[in-house]
Amino acid sequence: MKTKLFLSMLTIAIGFTACKKDSPDPVVETIITETVTEFGYHAEPTMTQFGPVYTGDYTKFSFSEGGQVEGDDWDIAFRSTHIIVNGGIASSDTSEPSRSSGNAAIYIIDNVMADVTSVDVSLLMQDAELSSAIINDLGVGADGGPGVWCEYANQTVTPISGKILVIRTHDDKYAKMEITDFYDTNPAHIYGGFYTFNYVYQSEEGNTTF
């Protein structure tokens, strides 16, 4: 009888220790979800006799900052329908920002934002001397192949639905974004280049999941 009591108390004591869980490590949320509206401070073209020509600066964007940057820590940059990344080789256009420190890369995939849960690193492309990774629509290939995110008709640029841009930032972090609008509203500039986009940024280095 005493042994039974002792044994049952021991069992209960062991049971309690066994059931006691370690308190979980504090979770650091590394995923940042944001929307950027009407981004494109250098969007205005110069009017020439041949029509509008874009020679100004690119507007540089950094995912870790969540906005415009002026230095070399940019990830992607916009000028009108051109999107370039801070990686690869610059084109012969001298107005492009320097890419000395960047390892950014990008690809476009057909999907919806929520369903892009990881990065396929084999698809990542960097800009090259003769062609940028993202084809600006005003060139050939306007029927929605990979590398094309918008279409141009009736002097209006429309982002194609179901195109997600997946980016490796200049410092090896990953983000995905969907461009939803090319124009600003108040006032509305007819030449566009004011990007509204939703993005999800994975701030943990090397983490390819969202």
Binding site: A142, N154, T158, G162, I164
Partner: protein
């Protein structure tokens, strides 16, 4: 009914889906023009296309696939394939025959969706007949007509003169433009029949039509004013020789011209732009009829010559056609009817086309008739798809017809290819179709009938414009390609119940599925995306989210009710309904899906009373669109409530 087989056949005997609009029905609608009466028929609807032209849709097929005839002769002058049915007066019409389903085996190109034939009245009694009518309606609309006919023995002549004038209407008050500008037109028609002997019948017919309309447009800030005028004439002659009771021959010759001119001046009277369109058709056809017991056959052959001259064409194209056709119509056992027809069309510069039709009708029981038909049809590329040379500098695009695009692109500097230019080397092919109709007619009693018709049309090599290149200023250049395969299918149901000398009710309904087969396949096999119109975020569509072609309603219905108040007075009401449809891809994903913006379905109700004062005089009053439905933003051809009253006087 003549149009279905080019021979005279009772409608009960025809294994082909047809309907007849009688003279009485034309009067009940108080119709002045073909437009007023034809778009109130089951399964037929008048739609306004993206280019602003209006045309008929039949079995879900576009206006350019229906041929319009007057006494068997074609009416020309189409804008983007559509014929303005407000041009065709229905004064002195015996009936309007509508044949649904491909009739290319008899009528050639364009009769892919069907044929509408207006038959003018034949006089029965000798002596003169004079009748006049006068109608006045809302928007200061007046329509007056005078018919003078004379018959003596085997000679008869019929002349009709019809004058129409209206102030037009304006659905949107806030702008300076009218929805329809004031216009007036008159039609003069003359028909002569003379039997030289009991074997030789001569017939001549002709008409002249003139329309004048004020033309107002806006250009950024100023108003432009001008005129828009149409002149049209036709002349036809035929000789029919009755060799014996079995064999007869008919030779026809016909020429028609349609000319439209319009201009716009600035407020200072300086010419801003002008435009002209001049289309001529010459046709000659020889038909041989052979009848023996239950067998009817017809063999015909002929030529047509067509010429078009217009602005925005690089040259004045001509098109020559030689054709031959034959049709066998046999009735076996007094009940089973088989029709077999075939036509060979040889256009210069084209591969010849053969169109076939087979129809079979038989009674299943004493009260049930089964009808079925299968046929092929075709439509050659029209002049615009071949020769257009048009620049829209305001919006910034160029459209080039397929026969001119290569030379024009070669002459441009720094052209970027969007479609490989090698694809442009071959000429456009004709659009072709395969159609099946299966119908059942059930007559449980003399005064009650039910009619079901299932139809399926597959149209191949549909011609559409597509982006071809960009010039050095990045202006989009389009040309025409055989791109799509389109399928329309559905069910048409009609029912009539008559209570003798009392009232009659007719019910009609059409269910329609019309879609691009390639798009349907993509929705089923690939993932299609659309943008949410509020959040702008993309989402995935299901395969059921593809709605189909633009401007098609899934459901259309009508109810017509005739009440015979007494010996002198009739009342009729009519209700038509059309379910929702869309005219643009509002979420810009390239397809018409269920998330695009639709125009709500709507119903219209008309009511009219006809009173016969005495056998020679009658009057009519009524209201069209009693509930005053309008949709000013999207539907420009519905005016709101319309009152009318008319008088008709026969002299004898």
């Amino acid at each position: 009914m003549i149009s279905a087989t080019k021979t005279s056949k009772s409608i009960d005997e025809l294994p082909i889906p047809i309907s007849i609009i009688s003279e009485k029905e034309v009067q009940e609608f108080s119709a002045s023009k073909l437009y007023d009466v034809i778009n109130k028929q089951t399964g037929i609807v008048s739609v306004t296309t993206k280019t602003g032209t209006e045309g008929l849709q039949m079995q879900g097929l576009d206006a350019s696939y229906t041929t319009i005839l007057i006494d068997g002769f074609p009416v020309i002058g189409r804008s983007f394939g559509a014929l303005d049915l407000n041009r065709i007066s229905v004064a002195d019409i015996e009936r309007i025959e509508v044949v649904k389903g491909p009739s290319s085996s008899l009528y050639g190109s364009n009769a892919l969706g069907g044929v509408i034939n207006l038959i003018s009245k034949n006089q029965i009694d000798d002596g003169p007949i004079i009748s006049t009518s006068l109608k006045h309606a809302s928007y200061n609309t007046t329509n007056s007509s005078l018919v003078y006919k004379y018959k003596e023995g085997t000679f008869q002549i019929s002349n009709s003169f019809d004058y129409y004038k209206t102030d037009g209407y304006d659905l949107i008050d806030t702008d300076l433009l009218n929805t329809v500008n004031p216009y007036s037109n008159y039609t003069f028609r003359s028909n002569l029949k003379y039997a030289l002997s009991d074997k030789l019948l001569l017939n001549t017919n002709g008409h002249y039509y003139k329309q004048e309309q004020i033309n107002i447009a806006a250009d950024s800030s100023s108003l432009l004013k001008g005129d828009s005028n149409i002149k049209e004439w036709s002349f036809g002659a035929s000789a029919k020789y009755l060799m014996n009771s079995n064999f007869s021959q008919q030779l026809e010759i016909y020429k028609t011209n349609y000319r439209a001119d319009e201009f716009l001046n600035t407020e200072d009277g300086v010419l801003y732009e002008d435009n002209y369109f001049d289309h001529t058709l010459l046709q000659s056809e020889m038909k041989s009829y052979f009848t023996y017991k239950g067998l009817n056959s017809i063999v015909g052959f002929g030529i047509t010559k067509e010429e078009l001259s217009r602005r925005d064409f690089s040259n004045n194209p001509e098109q020559d056609l030689k054709f031959i056709y034959g049709q066998l119509d046999a009735t076996a056992f007094n009940k089973v009817n088989i029709i077999l027809g075939s036509r060979y069309d040889n256009y210069t510069n084209y591969t010849p086309v053969i169109s076939n039709k087979f129809a079979l009708g038989f009674p299943l029981t004493k009260k049930i008739q089964i009808n079925s038909s299968v046929g092929t049809g075709f439509k050659t590329p029209d002049f615009r798809q071949k020769y257009f040379d048009f620049t829209n500098s305001t919006i910034g695009y160029i459209v080039l017809g397929r026969d001119v695009v290569i030379d024009r692109l070669k002459a441009m500097a720094n052209v970027q290819e969007v479609v490989p230019f090698s694809e442009l080397n071959s000429p456009l092919k004709s659009e072709t179709s395969l159609n099946i109709n299966i119908g059942l007619r059930y007559n449980p009693a003399d005064n009650l009938s039910f009619d079901f018709n299932f139809f399926n049309n597959k149209v191949n090599d549909l011609i559409e414009w597509k982006l071809v290149a960009k010039d050095e200023n990045n202006t989009n250049i389009y040309s025409y390609f055989n791109v799509n395969q389109v399928e329309t299918k559905g069910l048409e149901f009609n029912s009539t119940y008559t209570k003798a000398n009392n009232w009659e009710i007719k019910f009609g309904y059409q269910l329609l599925y019309a879609y691009d087969t390639e798009v349907k396949r993509r929705f089923e096999e690939e993932t299609i995306y659309a943008r949410d119109q509020e959040t702008n975020v993309s989402f995935k569509l299901n395969k059921d989210d593809y709605f189909g072609l633009f401007n098609r309603s899934r459901h259309m219905g009508d109810i017509k009710f005739n009440y015979h108040l007494n010996d002198k007075t009739d009342m009729n009401t009519m209700l038509t309904y059309r379910s929702k449809y869309a005219i643009s891809d509002s979420n810009a994903n390239g397809f018409l899906d269920t998330y695009d913006q639709f125009i709500d379905g709507y119903g219209l109700c008309d009511i009219g009373v006809t009173h016969h004062i005495n056998p020679l005089q009658s009057c009519q009053i009524g209201i069209k669109n009693i509930f005053g439905f309008t949709n000013p933003e999207f539907i420009s051809n519905i005016t709101g409530r319309l009152y009318y009253m008319s008088f008709k006087i026969n002299f004898k």
